[in-house]
């Protein structure tokens, strides 16, 4: 008897595997005939993109170690941390904001007391568009959909009693992101916290605003310059800050499919990388501070596969296409939010169950941070009770279900691996299409993305009306008294008047000459090739208001005009 060499063992293994695949092929053929003869329920078996195969086997997916890696190894299909969630759980971060800074400050304290581990600021529409609360265009909208922040003083009130050196804060702000970031850095300064200690994120993803969420201010090219100014300034001064949260969420909520969300978002991400490189920044100086934000929608496995594919695509492109050498540049870190668009006004308590399933998909997908929607969010901003249930949903998931024990628990599932591969291949094909359409910026200007998103939304609505897709309580299992059965939050109507009074007091109390000088310097910086952030920080410190700052930049940059179609 001779001892087998490793080559013999490999050859023997190949032969066994070949035989097994042959047997599997034969069995699949038999199964296929039986499936074809079976009776199926009268419903469409689809995910967000189209029909789904009825079963998956090793013939559909047999990933190798180079494609999958292990948790914490390239290409990070199985997650970015070697410890999965054992080292660090996802951050529980409820998006919150309404009324005045003081109203929202109280909500933050309520959430922190109940075990929330990060903050997330929802601004009102005037703030999102760069208007002060007392601007005529703000009429009726102050404090309604988020908190009204018009100045450094408002930002300070928002975080009163919350040490900015100890908490991480995410701010959903895009068109005027760099202005609100300056308010935040200046507010931290007044608390004695240097920028180098700040942890958190500004969304700052202007490309998807033009595509989907539509809270823009400036035209595309100057807006991209501001984004890169953030990359450059924060790389040196605020290295723990995420300078952008490249977001699929809004693209998906506007109606896209999961494959479109994945491809469009990553195409945007590559555009940001290329703009950073064009500035002359080395990729490894800014890429580790780029973060992502995915929607977690209803189709459980598709969502998990989307997140796995996203990590792999990012890692491969950053290493191979952009030459990044720092592993932190390869790692896609992301926030998730459950899909607002899946919530129903009918039978609203059902939303608790929807959110719980979606949250579980985020955990299986390896999210770093999660917002769970409250049951009442199709009716109004959430009440304390509703947001507490949403937060508890995450805590139950993290501490009771066992999902946090094992990294990438669906890794190796034929279905999930096949979907991951297909989503990756589909995204690569979309990147080619987008390049053919002239690249991201050109395709935004021609409405290429916007048209595809609107078409997908119309198709989804049609599927619902044809009952090809079921929404419980809306087009199936309906009841007569399905309307509002839960209490909803009423936002105080006095916020606008209070804000107006505060703003006029601020304008008369501040050093007017200093404010004027800061705004003049800001306009000059906007005209120059210099990084604009130091001038913005000076304007914030000089108590200039959001709209004043916006205006000082707008004289140079102009405003964005959208292509209109439906």
């Amino acid at each position: 008897m001779t001892v087998p060499t490793s080559t013999d063992v490999d050859a023997a293994g190949e032969a066994v595997r070949g035989e097994e695949l042959e047997r599997l092929r034969a069995e699949v053929a038999v199964w296929r005939a039986r499936y074809a003869a079976g009776e199926l329920r009268d419903i469409a078996f689809v995910n967000s993109d189209g029909p789904v195969d009825p079963v998956f086997t090793a013939l559909d997916a047999s990933p190798d170690v180079a494609t999958l890696g292990l948790p914490g190894t390239f290409p990070f299909t199985r997650g970015i941390h070697p410890t999965g969630y054992r080292g660090r759980l996802w951050t529980m971060r409820q998006f919150a904001g309404f009324g005045s800074a003081a109203d929202t400050n109280a909500r933050y304290k309520f959430l922190l007391e109940r075990g929330q581990t990060g903050l997330s600021v929802a601004f009102d529409f005037p703030t999102l568009m760069g208007y002060d609360s007392d601007h005529p265009r703000a009429a009726g909208e102050v404090g309604k959909c988020g908190v009204a922040i018009s100045s450094l003083a408002d930002m300070e009130r928002l975080f009163e009693g919350i040490p900015l050196g100890d908490v991480s804060t995410s701010m959903t702000i895009n068109g005027p992101a760099i202005i609100l970031f300056a308010f935040y850095v200046a507010a931290a300064e007044r608390q004695g916290v240097p920028a180098a200690r700040l942890r958190g994120t500004i969304q700052n993803d202007i490309l998807k605003e033009y595509m989907a969420q539509h809270a823009w201010v400036f035209p595309v090219e100057p807006a991209l310059r501001l984004v890169v100014d953030c990359f450059e300034w924060a790389a040196e001064h605020a290295p723990k800050w995420n300078t952008i949260s490249i977001s699929g969420y809004h693209i998906r909520e506007a109606g896209s499919t999961a494959p479109q969300e994945l491809a469009f978002t990553l195409a945007n991400a590559f555009a940001y990388v290329e703009h950073g490189l064009a500035r002359g920044l080395a990729v490894d100086t800014f890429a580790p501070q780029l973060s992502f934000f995915w929607d977690v929608h209803n189709d459980f496995f598709e969502e998990v596969a989307k997140m796995r594919a996203a990590r792999r695509i990012w890692a491969r492109h950053l290493r191979e296409r952009y030459g990044a050498r720092d592993p932190r540049s390869w790692m896609m870190r992301f926030h998730c939010q459950t899909a607002g668009v899946t919530l129903t006004a009918q039978q609203p308590l059902n939303n608790i169950a929807r959110v719980a399933y979606q949250a579980m998909a985020a955990a299986f997908g390896g999210a770093q941070s999660l917002h769970t929607n409250s049951m009442d969010e199709t009716l109004a901003l959430p009440t304390e009770t509703a947001v507490e249930v949403a937060l508890r949903t995450q805590q139950i998931l993290a501490y009771e279900t066992g999902v946090a024990n094992v990294a990438d628990p669906l890794g190796g599932s034929y279905y999930v691996e096949a979907l991951t591969d297909r989503l990756e291949a589909g995204a690569e094909a979309q990147f080619v299409e987008i390049a053919r359409a002239g690249g991201v910026v050109r395709a935004i200007e021609t409405g290429w993305f916007q048209r595809r998103i609107a078409e997908a939304a119309a198709r989804h609505q049609w599927d619902l009306e044809q009952r090809r897709r079921i929404t419980v309580g809306v087009n199936a299992f309906t009841t007569e008294d399905a309307g509002t059965t839960i209490p909803t939050l009423l936002v105080s109507e006095s916020t606008a008047a209070e804000q107006t009074a505060r703003l006029s007091a601020l304008r008369s109390a501040r050093d007017g000459a200093r404010a004027d000088a800061a705004l003049g310097a800001l306009t000059a910086a906007a005209r120059s090739d210099r990084n604009i952030f130091p001038a913005l920080l000076d304007a914030a410190r000089a108590e200039c208001t959001l709209f004043e700052i916006r205006s000082a930049m707008e004289v140079v940059f102009g405003t964005y005009r959208e292509p209109i179609f439906f």
């Binding site: 529409f125 005037p126 999102l128 568009m129 208007y131 265009r137 703000a138 009429a139 009726g140 909208e141 309604k144 959909c145 605003e209 969420q213 539509h214 809270a215 909520e253 506007a254 109606g255 668009v341 919530l343 129903t344 006004a345 009918q346 199709t378 009716l379 109004a380 901003l381 609107a454 939304a457 119309a458 609505q461 619902l464 009306e465 929404t471 809306v474 087009n475 309307g483 509002t484 909803t488 936002v491 959208e562 209109i564 179609f565 439906f566």
Partner: protein
Amino acid sequence: MPRPIRVLVAKPGLDGHDRGAKVVAAALRDAGMEVIYTGLHQTPEMIATAAVQEDVDVVGLSILSGAHMTLFPRVRELLHVAGRDDILLTGGGIIPQSDMEALQRTGVGRLFGPGTSTGDLVRYIREWFAERQPQDA
């Protein structure tokens, strides 16, 4: 052959959520109506002016921002000032039932919430039009 119903679909205020407005605009167009979509971030003045210039029968506002109690009455008032009380002002979005009822008492038409079938909108507008324009129906 009756003339087609002309509808202006508008997004007033700063709210950028236009999925609903675009789905509705496409559905009304597919139902044979002539649809004009304003685009985003319109003031009530811009909307009323467009409604008069385009000589529409119906104005549909989509509001998800909570600003409905300011924006619907303002558009209603501007249409009244322009002498166009005959235009149906309807719409939808995230609007509590009690606010819908309060707005209807001030001359706003039916308002529609999340989960509405576009078929219901088409039926509502057609029935309103048939009642208002018996000579055309």
